[in-house]
């Protein structure tokens, strides 16, 4: 008696092969569909917006004439907001991650905090907008300033940064810490000289992706009431300002058809900024990660 019934194997072989092909094509289709959507979007934006993209577009203020409209107030405003978001969210986010990973005892309270941070990451951005409006804009009297918007955005991306930083800190091998302790280093010395340098690439990659989210986010700004008719550049952290997505939103609402193209040009600028930031993240990941 043969251990393998070749006839049965033969019969099942075609079935298994077909199944294999079907699933392969199914998943290929899923990938291509997602890619197609992106290509169509890019194609539309580029064909519509490219004509309005110029140096003037980057330097002018918004205007009632589509050909004179520019994005400078939004671009500078968004970058200024980023200059508030970056230090605040990095300091708070990495600090919280280090505390949770290195200092906090693994008990119920920590688990509870942990769970809430994950939940916060899923809260819709408009809710953070309402929070920002109530606390920063009204209660603390910051007005519709860069500071208020920046702090709101920091809150929005903080959970994402904490989770990313935690992952990075956790992935530092325990042997490195043990070695450091073995040399007589204190906890802080270990964190500062061993854990952080090893974790920094992971932290930065996650943070930059979170920061790009802050740049593109519109809902919280709409709720805060960031103005769109702004013919000046911000002159300080408490200055009123407008942001890239707000201008795009405003242009898309205009009655004249030409403004749809101006909006497309604005989207191109925003996308280039995002692609630039994301490539920094990729660069950091490739260059600095896995050194141990």
């Amino acid at each position: 008696m043969a251990y393998i019934n070749h006839e049965v194997v033969e019969r099942q072989m075609t079935k298994r092969r077909t199944k294999n092909t079907v699933f392969k094509n199914l998943f290929l289709g899923a990938t291509l569909l997602a890619l197609l959507a992106l290509v169509v979007l890019m194609y539309r934006m580029i064909t519509q917006g490219a004509g309005y993209l110029s140096l003037d577009f980057l330097q002018n203020f918004s205007s009632r004439f589509p050909e004179k409209a520019g994005i400078s107030a939004g671009l500078v405003g968004s970058l200024a907001m980023l200059a508030v978001v970056t230090p605040v969210s990095l300091f708070l986010g990495v600090g919280a991650a280090i505390y949770l990973e290195e200092y906090a005892k693994k008990n119920k309270v920590t688990t509870f905090i942990q769970m809430n941070i994950s939940n916060l990451a899923g809260v819709p951005s408009i809710v953070f907008g309402l929070l920002g409006l109530t606390i920063f804009v009204r209660m603390l009297g910051m007005g519709k300033s860069i500071l208020a918007a920046g702090l709101t955005m920091s809150l929005l991306i903080l959970p994402v940064i904490i989770v990313a930083a935690q992952e990075a800190v956790r992935s530092v091998p325990g042997s490195l810490r043990e070695a450091s302790y073995g040399m007589g280093a204190t906890k802080w010395q270990t964190i500062y000289k061993v854990v952080l340098p090893a974790a920094i690439p992971g932290i930065l990659t996650g943070s930059i992706l979170a920061l790009s989210r802050a740049i593109g986010e519109t809902a919280p700004l709409v709720v805060i009431g960031i103005p769109v008719i702004v013919q000046f550049l911000p002159d300080g952290i408490l200055s009123e300002f407008t942001a890239l997505p707000m201008l795009i939103f405003d242009w898309a609402k205009r009655p004249q058809e030409e403004f749809q193209y101006v909006a497309a040009a604005g989207i191109l600028v925003l996308m280039m900024l995002l692609i630039f930031m994301n490539s920094i993240a990729v660069f950091i990941r490739n260059k600095f990660q896995n050194r141990y």
């Binding site: 918004s62 009632r64 008719i229 205009r254 950091i284």
Partner: protein, 320 residues
């Protein structure tokens, strides 16, 4: 280790540069516009910050005014949001803005809240708009509606309405409604003056973005919608306008008041205390001097001259 420190230093330097760049841009922008305009206008250069918010209908006029004004007074920073008439008044009541754009007169309850907060305000009429009723291009049964019919079409009667319910000769198909959102003054005005405070049909698609209404009506043969005149003007070739009691909204019929009850004035409400600030006074003076011309340039209709004269008289009381 070195790499890490290098990275930190680089990122810090980058953000410092970023902040610095903002500052530098600002100075460059200011000085260049100062030199370019300084020669043309001999007016003294004022400084100040002015905040406004309000109606999306008024915002194209306000943008034109702010755009021109900032060329004459580059150091007065005027920032205007577009939260809708209701949203704008909410901020105005809160004292967050110095003026509020409105596409309807202030409501009693809003006035009461302002009084409660001790905020005195002045109303300025700046232009005219005609709410335009539009239907799909392929709609061949409607040319003209009476105000009564309009009311019948839009009022919520608890069930789905068909065109044939209004007039037996019209098709037996369900009406699709497109209306500005509840935060907009256009909605308030329509409900107030056409529906006389009755409920607008609940099946209506509401949007704060008038382009959504334009595309909605454009795509559906059984659709009817309404919005400000400027949106109709910009989309004339895509939509069909409906006459009201035989009058089509045009520049002339809106200005003369023949297009009634749907022509309406647009307002700016200014905080009296803010008007005592020279920059704010200067801005309002500029706005009133140019509102008519700017309104025309963005598709609205200017108010009669005596309205602006009246406005200016009101404003002069705040002159120091």
């Amino acid at each position: 280790m070195k790499k890490w420190k290098y990275l930190m230093v680089t990122s810090m330097a980058t953000s410092a540069l970023l902040l610095g760049a903002c500052g530098a841009d600002q100075k460059a922008g200011n000085s260049s516009s100062e030199t370019s305009t300084g020669a043309e206008s001999s007016d003294e250069q004022l400084q100040g910050k002015i905040a406004g918010d309000g109606s999306s209908t008024v915002s194209p006029i306000m943008e034109a005014i702010v755009e021109e004004y900032s060329a004459t007074q580059p150091n007065v920073q005027v920032a205007v949001g577009v939260s809708g008439t209701g949203g704008g008044f909410e901020k105005f009541i809160n004292g967050e803005t110095d003026f509020s754009n409105a596409s309807r007169p202030i409501k009693d309850e809003e006035a009461a809240k302002l009084k409660e907060k001790g905020v005195d305000y002045t109303e300025f009429e700046i232009a005219y708009d005609g709410i335009s009723i539009v239907v799909n291009k392929d709609n061949d049964w409607i040319e003209d509606l009476t105000v009564k019919q309009l009311e019948e079409i839009w009022v919520d009667n608890g069930k789905k309405k068909k065109w044939s319910d209004i007039n037996k000769d019209w098709p037996n198909e369900e009406i699709k409604f497109y209306s500005p959102g509840t935060d907009s003054g256009t909605y308030d005005y329509f409900v107030n003056d056409v529906l006389e405070e009755q409920q607008l049909d609940k099946s209506a698609t509401l949007s704060e973005d008038d382009n959504v209404l334009v595309t909605g009506v454009e795509a559906d043969k059984n659709a009817i919608g309404y919005f400000g005149f400027a949106y109709y003007e910009a989309n004339k070739d895509k939509l069909k306008i409906v006459k009201i009691d035989g009058v089509e909204p045009t520049h002339d019929t809106i200005q003369s008041g023949d297009y009634t009850p749907l022509s309406r004035p647009l307002f700016v409400y200014a905080n009296n205390k803010a008007l005592e600030d020279p920059a704010m006074y200067n801005f309002m003076e500029y706005a009133l001097n140019n509102a008519g011309e700017m309104a025309e340039s963005v598709g609205y209709v200017k108010s009669p001259d005596d309205v602006y004269a009246e406005d200016k008289k009101k404003l002069e009381e705040f002159k120091k």
